[in-house]
């Protein structure tokens, strides 16, 4: 779902990526889609790499935020291998555009902060987040008008001209979290209610003498 969202965004933004001035190999457009789920974020990243020169082979090393899990490779990677801080792959870049997409998950609380840095310069980075009532901002750049998708208005942020290796801090707030205490609290309320009703019964109906009964009339 979120991957599809990234692709929609990528296609909608194709003009701005291809109209950029031709210099060296760079990321024309980087889309980061954050799907805020309970206690964790599903982050999909789509890199539209532009190569204005001849075919080149690039050793692409992507650093992922610490504690990221379940990295899934969707597009453009040949034989990715995991590294201590992310993954790497040697990819062939023909002249023109090459798309690379992957996703990963990140544990979160009510608020999440992570830094993204990439080995290539980025002409335009767009971040979009999905989740009820969440807010999004980055270390620099500016907010964009929310994106309307299937009746939801998703907050967006744009950063332009990011140097290779430059870290961009992404901050999300108002994230959904689980409430593991809730079932225990509900059960405790039930226990308290039953205990109170039992106490009331015991105080209102004093014990009969004689102890054990056969119980014959009670069922």
């Amino acid at each position: 779902m979120i991957y599809a969202l990234v692709l929609i965004l990528a296609l909608s933004s194709v003009t701005s990526a291809t109209s950029a001035p031709r210099t060296d190999v760079a990321i024309g457009l980087l889309l980061i889609a954050v799907d805020a789920q309970r206690d964790h974020l599903r982050i999909s990243e789509a890199l539209r790499i532009s190569n204005p020169g001849r075919e080149a082979v690039v050793d692409l090393r992507i650093t992922l935020p610490p504690a990221s899990q379940y990295v899934t490779f969707h597009r453009g990677l040949v034989r990715p291998s995991e590294t201590d801080d992310g993954f790497r792959d040697r990819i062939r870049l023909p002249p023109g555009l090459t798309e690379v997409a992957y996703s990963y998950a990140l544990p979160s609380n009510r608020r999440a902060t992570f830094i993204r840095s990439f080995p290539l310069p980025i002409r335009r980075m767009e971040i979009v987040a999905r989740g009820r009532g969440i807010s999004l901002r980055a270390g620099r750049g500016q907010p964009l008008a929310p994106l309307a998708v299937a009746g939801e208005h998703l907050p967006r942020w744009e950063v332009r001209t990011v140097r290779a290796g430059e870290g961009i801090t992404v901050v999300l707030a108002g994230l959904p979290v689980s409430r593991p205490w809730l079932p225990y609290a509900a059960a405790a309320v039930l226990a308290a209610a039953l205990a109170v009703s039992l106490c009331i019964r015991l105080t209102r109906a004093p014990a009969r003498t004689g102890g054990v009964i056969a119980g014959s009339q009670n069922f």
Binding site: T72, G211, A214, G215
Partner: protein
């Protein structure tokens, strides 16, 4: 779903504990309101467990991988039927199934106890105590609703060996059997706790035990069938500890179903019958402990699991309390008159009981010995089939002899002359069958003895049916109607005969398939042929297939038996997510034999290696087991009580003639 499931489990525990407290206080204070509250707690507990089960079911079907259990037992490519059976495909889910089944049984039992009001409060207490134990284990040790903070995008999938229709039905059937022992156990304890150690509980318990026994039989049957068609070793019973865990309560409950007849009729062996019920329950808990604690794979695995400790404590407490009560209240248990004669039905049933209990004890020893040996020495010493066969085969032969003679003996004292004349025909039939088999060149003494005894028992059963039918026929009933009515008028007796007949059919299948099985292994190129017994097999070709999460290699063979040809397709399955290979056996099954083909290997040039077995009469085993279940169901049906005025005189005569030995 996780929150809902956890809440349901915690609420169920609260309600169970509340029910125990109100039940105890109600009994001590003589408070009917509190006793009613305890009674209602059973229903409330069952409802919360059903809610938890529903939550797990929805989580599985919706593939909610945030729940650890769902992620560990399913994945996106798992077919729906195995996604549902994943409910009991893992440890926590199977415990929840245990609790769910207990809930259903407990509600049915407590609502059926209106007929036994003096036992009801105690039965409720015992059921709620068992319920509280299982709920606490689920809530605090094996919560099926524990979650990941970050759920994986896909699950690990169900163990490939469990992706089989027989394994989809085996655990529920087995648990219906195991858990079914809880209600009669509760009745037995209630009779001891209430100090009313009379026969009231026996009348109520019998049908519960029969129901549990039928399900245990089905569970054993499904498990054996799964082992036969999935594991690819050609057999169906390996005396594996997991199999033994289900067999032990089956043996002791079988003993109970025989001893209860003596106790109900003569008052004899009341304490023994109660003890058999307590043992059957303890063995059903032991069976769950053995399969769920990890102790079978290693003592160390058990040491690392909290659930094993929980079960061990529960088992210890229930054994101590129940047998302590039996010893304490044992003197109040009426003893009845002593056995008058060795030549009586009581004596035959007693001998049957001793043999069944010895068999259960031998299986228990063989099952637990490796565990104790490992705990003592650090080395695992396995007790294999030779031990079990050496112990069990003589017991089975003796039981067969009793099965032939026992039903023909009168209660109290049989007339030797009458008995001799009754037994002469069936005994001669048995000897003739043994002689005929020997004439075929079979010299195996056990086989000849077993054949003779099976024919002997079959003869006595036919004789009993023939007598009853003949009497009914004298009053103008057609043969099929006479047969149906005969069974219908005395379901308990004739249901038992049907069970005995099923056991004979099953034993014939077991003996033939285990003694006369042949096997061969061959490596064939396409078009090559091989022979086994009356079959010729031609290897046609092999093909590979790819499915979701699966790579499959299938070899095609054609089996000729001189009359017809049958295509056979054994397969090799590689399950990618589990990195595991399983075999899919091809079987051509007839009443005479099973042609059983396993694909062992396939080279790049499509040269295939097959292991082929010819297992005689395996179908008899499955059919016999189904006959046992059918007989058990008939025996479990409530007895018909026609109005005296409606009962024709000849019915009385039938009862006198065919059932004179009853009284």
């Amino acid at each position: 779903m996780a929150d809902l499931g956890t809440f349901a489990l915690l609420a169920a525990l609260v309600v169970a504990l509340y029910g125990i407290v109100t039940g105890v206080l109600g009994l001590r204070r003589g408070d009917a309101v509190l006793l009613r509250a305890a009674h209602r707690s059973v229903t409330a507990w069952a409802a919360f467990i059903a809610l938890a089960s529903g939550a797990l079911f929805v989580a599985l079907v919706s593939r909610d991988f945030s729940i650890r259990y769902v992620a560990e037992t399913t994945n996106r490519s798992l077919p729906l039927i195995y996604t549902i059976s994943a409910f009991w495909g893992g440890h926590a889910g199977s415990l929840l199934l245990w609790a769910f089944v207990l809930g259903a049984y407990a509600v049915a039992a407590t609502h059926g106890l209106r007929r036994a009001p003096s036992l009801a409060p105690y039965v409720t207490l015992v059921l709620l105590s068992t319920a509280a134990f299982f709920t606490a284990t689920l809530a605090f040790s094996s919560n099926p609703f524990s979650t990941f903070q970050v759920p994986p995008p896909d699950g690990r999938g169900l163990n490939p060996l469990l992706r089989n229709p027989w394994m989809a039905v085996h655990p529920p059937a087995l648990y219906l059997g195991f858990v079914g022992m809880t209600v009669p156990f509760a009745l037995a304890l209630a009779s001891l706790l209430s100090g009313r150690a009379d026969q009231e509980w026996l009348a109520l318990a019998r049908r519960w035990v029969l129901t549990a026994w039928v399900f245990l039989t089905l569970g054993l049957l499904f498990g054996a069938k799964w082992s036969y068609v999935v594991l690819g070793w050609g057999g169906y019973w390996a005396w594996d500890p997991v199999e033994n865990a289900a067999l032990m309560p089956w043996l002791t409950s079988t003993a109970f179903l025989h001893s209860i007849q003596i106790t109900q009729r003569t008052g004899l062996l009341a304490g023994w019958t109660t003890a058999l019920m307590l043992v059957s329950f303890a063995l059903s808990i032991l069976g769950t402990f053995l399969t769920r604690s990890g102790v079978l794979s290693s003592v160390h695995a058990f040491a690392n699991s909290t659930v094993g400790l929980y079960f061990l404590i529960f088992l210890g407490v229930s054994v101590l309390v129940s047998f302590g009560l039996l010893l304490w209240r044992g003197r109040r248990v009426p003893g009845g008159d002593p056995v008058e004669s060795v030549l009586s039905r009581e004596a035959a049933f007693l001998a049957n009981n001793v043999l069944l209990v010895v068999a259960a004890a031998a299986v228990l020893f063989g099952t637990l010995f490796p565990i104790f040996a490992e705990a003592a020495t650090g080395d695992r010493i396995n007790v294999g089939p030779p031990y079990f066969n050496q112990v069990i085969v003589p017991i089975v032969l003796l039981l067969l002899a009793l099965m032939a003679v026992g039903p023909l003996l009168s209660w109290r004292r049989a007339d030797p002359a009458e008995l001799t004349s009754t037994l002469t025909g069936p005994a001669a039939g048995g000897l003739l069958v043994a002689a005929a088999i020997a004439a075929l060149g079979i010299r195996n003494v056990s086989v000849l003895l077993l054949a003779a005894l099976c024919a002997f028992v079959a003869g006595t059963i036919v004789l009993e049916f023939a007598r009853g039918v003949r009497l009914r026929r004298t009053h103008g009933e057609a043969l099929p109607i006479a047969l149906v009515r005969l069974v219908d008028r005395n379901r308990r007796r004739y249901g038992g005969y049907i069970v005995h007949f099923g056991i004979l059919v099953m034993l014939v299948g077991i003996t033939a398939s285990s003694v006369f099985s042949t096997q061969t292994q061959a490596t064939l190129a396409q078009g090559d042929r091989m022979r086994i017994g009356r079959y010729e097999l031609r290897y046609e070709d092999a093909q590979g297939f790819r499915g979701p999460d699966l790579r499959m290699t299938a070899a095609r063979l054609t089996a000729f038996d001189g009359v017809s040809s049958t295509p056979l397709t054994p397969r090799h399955l590689y399950h990618e997510s589990q990195d595991e290979i399983t075999a899919e056996v091809a079987i051509r099954s007839t009443w005479r034999d099973d042609l059983y083909v396993v694909l062992i290997g396939l080279s790049a040039d499509r040269v295939a290696t097959f292991r082929v077995l010819l297992n005689p009469m395996v179908q008899w085993l499955w059919t016999g087991a189904l006959v046992i279940v059918f007989g058990g169901l008939i025996a479990a049906l409530p007895a018909r009580r026609p109005q005296e005025k409606e009962r024709p005189a000849y019915v009385e005569q039938t009862a006198v003639a065919a059932g004179s030995r009853i009284r």
